[in-house]
Amino acid sequence: MSEAGKAKMGQPMNRLEDPKLVTGNGCYVDDIKRDGMLHLDFLRSPYAHADILSIDTDAALALPGVVAIYTGADLADKLGPVPSFSVPGNFFNTPDMHMLALDKVRFVGEMVVAVVASDRYIARDARELIKVNYKPLPAVTDIEKALLDDAPLVHESMGSNRAFMIPIGDAEGAAKALEGADVVVKERLINQRVIPNPMETRGVVAEYSPWDNELTAWISTQAPQNLRRDFAKFLDHPDAKLRVIAPDVGGGFGPKGAVYPDELMTVYVARELARPVKWIEERQESMMATTHARGQVYDVEMGVNRDGSIQGLRIHMLAHMGAHYGANTPVTAMVTAACITGAYKIPHAVLNAESVFTHTTCIDAYRGFGRTESSYLIERMVNRLAQEIDMDPVELRHKNFIQPDEFPYITPMNNTYDDGHYEVSMSRALEMADYDALREQQRVFRAKGRYVGIGVSSHVWRASFRMPDTHGTDNWCIGGWEKSTVTVSDNGGVTVTIGTCSMGQGIATATAQVVADVLSIDTDNIKIVEKDTFAAPFGNGSMGSRSMVTGGSATLLAAKKARAKILRLAAHLLDSVDDELELKDGCVLVVGQPEKSVSLFDIARLSLRGQEEQPLNEEPTIEESAVYEIPKFAPEFATHTAAWGTHLCLVEVQPATGKIDILRYIAVDDVGRAINPKICAGQIHGGVAQGLGQALMEEAVYDDDGQLLTSSFLDYCTPKATDMPWLEVDFTETPNPTNALGVRGVGESGTCGASPVLVNAVVDALSPLGVTHIDMPLKPEKVWKAIQQAQGDVQEASRHSQKTPRDSQQAQPRPQQEQHA
């Protein structure tokens, strides 16, 4: 099946990972079993806010098979606070979270007691026997109520539920720009709280060997090296003796990017008891206690002139934090702020970020964190402006896009874009849709009384970034670089060790494609080693669409170094010079003299001879490492690369039921060079599914007492395959000039595009009724109510206009609008 010689990069190869995974032969954390393994279960708080008066574990301890029980008091002297974004003295400083609640619980799902038993059933039975005496206290889960003077406080020591308030951008300039604009649209937008729900919940198997003090954790994570660091620090364990392995991971999506108290506890217990310990999160635990996402409310004012030029943007953002800081909790809000101006030249913008604690689980990263939120806001608002000044939303975008010759571009939020060609993707999407014909079709449908709408979004989003050094805290460690090592064995096989972390994306396949091309070998001869801190190089894991940009580029550089050495050795064997040689089908040939060749096998053998036999004093072995780091424009700016795309969607709304039929969905993304178009398309499919999920049906709902009402799949609505429209996916592969692979990132493009495009389409469908905005999720009931309301308004208006024709213009439903002459 050798296809050596044919370029692999750019080919839609099947994923090398799939045969194992799709036949059920993968190895996830729960598949790992160790001799004498114990099982851990956690009693979690049923209250959102309560004092813990007493805990009685006697009956549970007496149950045969129970090995140990831990409460917060048992650990208070032994273990410090859980690693979080908060660092003393830092701007984001907040009170500590303890591994097990000490005297108070602050959200439903917070861990109170840990039970260790010989099997999972006994652990669970023992949990039932533990009696915790709580004194329930008033809770607050609503972000606005939390800021009222009489709101129950999440942390008394802070004196308020406000975590921080930062203005970002140019307040004065924005105020002036809005004053001067022809039209200012005010809108309140809600980006609702959602539950990420990877298919595989979190889980750990930990094992301790007292003989050599080695502590091993198999854990479902996106960042093994970050967890190694956190485990070592938290447990005060020698770093070099801590091995973290991510086996097959069933989806990460952000929540698995940081460490959690239950994971720390599992590793701690394994060391304490010197026995292997397993903890597997249940789905309900996952929904209650794994981090949630989004959860932002914005009051937006955006000014535009009648000619379509955007003048200014002013936003007040309320951002949910939850009850504590997880490892990255405030980051989503900060990234939202940084990216808020999207693909547009907005001369003046300001965002006032106010973050709020509530009695809920933490907010943290979720596919497209910050960028999905900012894309939603800006893409929604651009459409809102277009509706207001009666301009086609595509034309308004054309008028305000940052142009290719304006990069690198610094936004009013001090964000930099390396590169951008937004028109290219938009043109392709319009062409696929036959946009003008589609609008014509829409007019025909409308004339028949059907509610058909077209949505457009032209999102730009930064991939593969790190925060600027001055911004970071001790625990915020996502570098803008990766390292890769390419090793050629004595039989000519190639091993590539990388520091990124596959959780289902197909990183191994794409990496193998890069190496196969550089070394001109088949992917069958390549092994990718990753996700084991004893075997893989130091790396930053996989999040923020960084793996191919940083890891892929590092692999390219390392493979090129290996290639160079192969050619040097071959030149010696062939009595030739490097530049006369070419690598082809596992052989090095002299150009124009095909009879003169040497196999990779022979070169590899030569490389392993002793130093004295090496030509040109080469070191034995072909093992080459390289680091790739994204270039920085200036020290004060975050490093990242920009990707963009245009999504276009055609919907029909059923007025009787409020149901939305998605008739067409077109996604054109510029991911730079697509190393594997099939994998890229898969990433778009998954991202769009999650984006449409948020737009249409997903919402984490807490009641006023802080109970999570959507804590199972009976009530929390995740999109299923049958909910998905057919996706027409294409790529405009504008090579990224800042890295040699030319890649930009793909994983988060789908979520960035999908939620605004769907809402834009539905609002467009209902615009004849005067509907200007509906907040996500666009559940049929909500859409139906908006239609009922609007129809009522229209009838009211027409009755009114019959009486006094002169007033009819004012009676047009245009709420929350200010006009300046």
Partner: protein, 289 residues
């Protein structure tokens, strides 16, 4: 999802199952397990003994008799009732079975289990009411029949006593100038009905509605028969679309639940939509025959 300890027996006969049920404190019948097992795993239900009737082949299948008599074994899975050759004259079974939950549930879940569980948002209860069915309940020493209209007691409670096993669902169905249909609006997460309308009707030679029954799922705390609507429709031909929708928007028995997935007004609107469509479809089927 770790259940508490329970005993398990795969019953070899209905006799054994009912005897165990009678004699064992806290025993529960396990049919398809699509509702019971999640509850057991979440410890919302902690049975001492699960009596699995999944191996009782005599409880599976459809049999037809004289005069439109139709019997469906309680352990017939939902999927087995889709396009069943003996049910071609009664398309309502396919209509309903097709839209129950998801593929996995349809493969395992059973009609008898669904009726016994009496979830107001399940689909079979509405069909059962519309078709004026009857169930056979067996206990260790007795058998009794219960009519559909007497079967649903309260939310999640049916007439099946703790010592009884539902073994069979029976119907006497008209075949001439008869039509039926089921249309529902799903709660998107669970697939249960937010509002569903099961309609069974017979028309006379002049295409006037001679008899009509509509069972409703998902709206109230219990499945119910919309008798007030039947009275308004009986004796006439199918009203115009607008008129029918207006009638269906005012079902007197309608007393909607309100929850995360739909308020009362919305459930009413969905019922109006499902009912008018279901009545129209049933009428078309009756008049086409």
């Amino acid at each position: 999802m770790i259940p508490s300890q329970f005993d398990y027996i795969a019953a070899q006969s209905v006799e054994q199952a009912t005897r165990l049920l009678e004699q064992t404190q806290g025993a529960k019948i396990l049919a398809g397990g699509m509702s019971l097992l999640p509850a057991v795993k979440a410890r919302l239900n902690e049975p001492g003994l699960l009596i699995d009737i999944g191996k009782l082949d005599e409880l599976v299948g459809v049999s037809t008799g004289w005069l439109g008599r139709l019997k469906i074994g309680a352990m017939s899975t939902h999927v087995s009732l889709i396009d069943h050759p003996d049910l071609t004259a009664q398309p309502i079974f396919s209509d309903a079975a097709r839209v129950i939950a998801d593929v996995q549930v349809r493969n395992r879940g059973t009609i008898g289990g669904s009726l016994s569980y009496a979830d107001p948002a399940a689909d079979w209860p509405a069909v059962f009411l519309a078709l004026e069915g009857e169930v056979l309940l067996r206990s260790h020493k007795k058998k009794r029949k219960v009519k559909a209209e007497d079967f649903f007691i309260s939310m999640m409670t049916s007439a099946v006593a703790s010592n009884e096993l539902l073994t069979e669902v029976a119907f006497s169905l008209d075949s001439k100038r008869a039509g039926n249909a089921y249309i529902k609006h799903r709660q998107p997460a669970s697939g249960l009905a937010l509002a569903g309308a099961a309609v069974n009707l017979v028309v006379d030679k002049k295409q006037r509605i001679e008899k009509i029954n509509m069972g409703v799922s998902g709206v109230n705390a219990m499945p119910f028969l919309a008798r007030s609507l039947s009275e308004k429709l009986q004796g006439g031909v199918l009203p115009s679309e607008d008129a029918l929708q207006k009638l269906c928007a005012q079902v007197d028995e309608c007393d909607p639940l309100e929850d995360l997935h739909g308020g009362a007004d919305y459930r009413r609107a969905l019922l109006a939509n499902a009912a008018s469509r279901s009545i129209t479809l049933a009428y078309q089927r009756a008049t086409a025959a």
